[in-house]
């Protein structure tokens, strides 16, 4: 059972993602910002990270960079789920090491498809 971590400062978004992926049979853990996510990721092994970009304390791009700097998360898929749709931001995410970019609002079916694809 792969473990997925959702990182978003909006509680309802975390709830939606947990519900969608929980229904698809994944174990989902939640973090309210980048800093909390980083701490959780250090404590346990996470198979996939779905993170927002704009968050307090630590934003999504910094989180991706920090995770990529850790040995156990060098190749873990990280998806950005955000309202940002600009190419510039996407490029930032890509160069930081994100695996993919999903623009909000997400479609549950599509999200599950993408998760299946990146988890292999």
């Amino acid at each position: 059972m792969p473990t997925i971590m959702t990182v978003d400062d909006t509680a309802s978004m975390r709830q939606m993602i947990s519900f969608t992926l929980g229904s698809a049979g994944y174990e989902v853990i939640e973090a309210a910002d980048g800093a909390e996510a980083l701490k959780l990721a250090q404590d346990r092994k996470v198979d996939l990270v779905i993170a927002d970009v704009n968050m307090p304390n630590m934003d999504g791009i910094t989180l991706v960079k920090s995770l990529r700097a850790m040995e156990q998360y060098k190749f873990t898929p990280i998806l950005m789920l955000t309202t940002e749709s600009q190419a510039g931001k996407r490029d930032q995410g890509r160069s930081a090491g994100a695996t993919g970019w999903i623009v909000k609002p997400f479609n549950p079916e599509q999200l599950v498809d993408v998760v299946r694809k990146v988890l292999g």
Binding site: D8, T10, A11, S12, M13, Q15, M16, F19, T20, S23, N54, T83, E84, S85, Q86, A87, K89, R90, G93, R94, A98, T99, G100, W101, I102, V103, K104, P105, F106, N107, P108, E109, Q110, V114, K117, V118
Partner: protein, 451 residues
């Protein structure tokens, strides 16, 4: 400069009235109008004074000329010219002395300018103050809206999750229940409605077949009983033969007895034999009678059995056929029910798929909160930035105002100026615009992209 006698002249009064009205105007009407009216008054006064001076000189000249209008005309004309030239010089000198009025006007204009600047500064400060208060209220309201929508979205989302979970569970249980009626056959007892129908059909058919077979056997037995009956009749015939034989034997014994009597003593032994033979014949008759009686009882029994068997076989057959028909109808009815159940299962499947689609739509729609919150939060930053910009402009305006008006700084402006909130970052405006674009702009790339 102007003689006192002139005061009695109308133009002098008019000039005084003009100055007076201008003075009144200056105190009561806006500055620009006052300046305009000042200029008009000045021109009117100059014209009136010029007119008065010319009139006065002409009167003086005519007074000089009046006593001797005859031969002295040339001499007086020359004197008059000199006089006029002198008067003109005097008038010019008097006009040259007007500048003090300009100075007054200039000083008044400067005063007005200062007052306008002061007024402008006060208005700036007032606007800044009010905007700052409004912005703070707006900020508070926006935060409240964001919080409320977040709470509402959380409640809606958890309620929906609960509803969806329950609906899913309900659908699954209904499916399991219905699938149980449609499921595969087990080894022992029937596991589903289909199995039940099949097994009961098999067993009932088997029973009906058994009944039919029993009925067939009955018919067979009836036929065989027919054979037995005809054999009893044959036995009856044989008994008649036996009785005939007995009769003949009896007759033979009688004859022997007669012959023995005729022979006399020598035939006595023969007579005994003849008697024995007669007795044997009688016993044969008795046996034959008994056999006939028994045979009769057998025939009666057989006849009854035959009738019973016939009835039984007909009833069995009828019953068996009826049961078979009923079993068939029952099976058909069960099959119809089963088809209905299958259709219900199919409908439940369709509804489950629809529920799944609805759930997806709900999940998409419930994300509105995150998007609206971000948009609302994005509104705050340009607002704060505008406030900061306004404050800087205010400060600059005040600095310029102080340079212009060193003696009269805008006290009101300083006391009512809002406490400045220094800009947090230099490029705050740019970042705000970028964010706004990011939030408000239509999607410029694909909704999902894997790098």
């Amino acid at each position: 400069m102007i003689p006192a006698s002139l005061a009695t002249r109308w133009w002098a009064w008019a000039a005084a009235a003009c100055i007076g009205s201008w003075a009144w105007t200056l105190a009561h009407v806006p500055t620009l109008v006052a300046i305009g009216s000042g200029c008009a008054t000045l021109i009117a006064v100059v014209l009136l004074l010029g007119h008065g001076v010319r009139r006065y000189r002409l009167q003086q000249a005519s007074a000089v000329l009046a006593p001797g209008p005859g031969e002295l005309a040339d001499a007086t004309a020359a004197a008059e010219e000199d006089e006029i030239a002198a008067l003109l010089r005097e008038t010019n000198k008097e006009i040259g002395e007007i500048p003090p009025v300009d100075q007054i006007l200039q000083s008044m204009e400067a005063d007005n300018h200062r007052r306008r600047l002061e007024d402008l500064l006060r208005r700036w400060v007032d606007v800044a103050h009010r905007y700052s208060e409004a912005a703070l209220v707006l900020r508070k309201e926006i935060h409240a809206v964001v919080q409320h929508t977040e709470q509402a979205a959380n409640t809606i989302s958890s309620s929906f999750q609960a509803v969806i979970n329950k609906a899913t569970l309900q659908a699954r249980e209904a499916m399991e229940l219905l699938e149980g009626t449609q499921g595969g056959a087990g080894e022992g007892a029937p596991q589903s409605l289909t199995d039940f129908i099949r097994v009961s059909d098999e067993r009932l058919t088997k029973m009906a077949d058994e009944v039919v077979r029993v009925a067939d056997l009955s018919v067979q037995m009836v036929k065989e009983l027919d054979g037995v009956q005809s054999r009893t009749q044959a036995i009856d015939g044989f008994l008649l033969d036996v009785e005939k034989l007995a009769d003949q034997t009896s007759l033979l014994a009688l004859n022997a007895d007669i012959e023995a009597a005729r022979v006399g003593e020598h035939g006595r032994g023969f007579s005994v034999v003849a008697q024995e033979i007669r007795r044997l014949s009688q016993r044969s008759h008795e046996f034959s009678d008994r056999i006939r009686q028994h045979l009769k009882a057998v025939k009666v029994g057989l006849h009854k059995t035959y009738g019973d068997m016939r009835n039984l076989s007909a009833a069995d057959m009828e019953h068996a056929l009826k049961i078979k028909q009923e079993v068939l109808e029952l099976t058909r009815s069960l099959e119809t029910k089963n088809r209905e159940v299958a259709e219900t299962v199919s409908r439940i499947n369709t509804i489950s798929r629809e529920i799944a689609q609805d759930v997806h739509n709900v999940v998409v729609s419930l994300q509105f909160h995150d998007i609206t919150s971000q948009k609302l939060k994005a509104m705050l930053e340009p607002m704060d930035e505008l406030r900061r910009t306004l404050f800087h402009l205010m400060q600059e305006t005040m600095a310029v105002g102080k340079n212009l008006l060193p003696s009269r700084p805008a006290e009101g402006a300083e006391t009512t100026a809002p406490v400045p909130e220094p800009p947090s970052e230099d490029d705050a405006g740019d970042s705000v615009i970028r964010k706004l674009r990011a939030v408000g702009a239509p999607t410029s790339g694909p909704p999902v992209e894997l790098f």
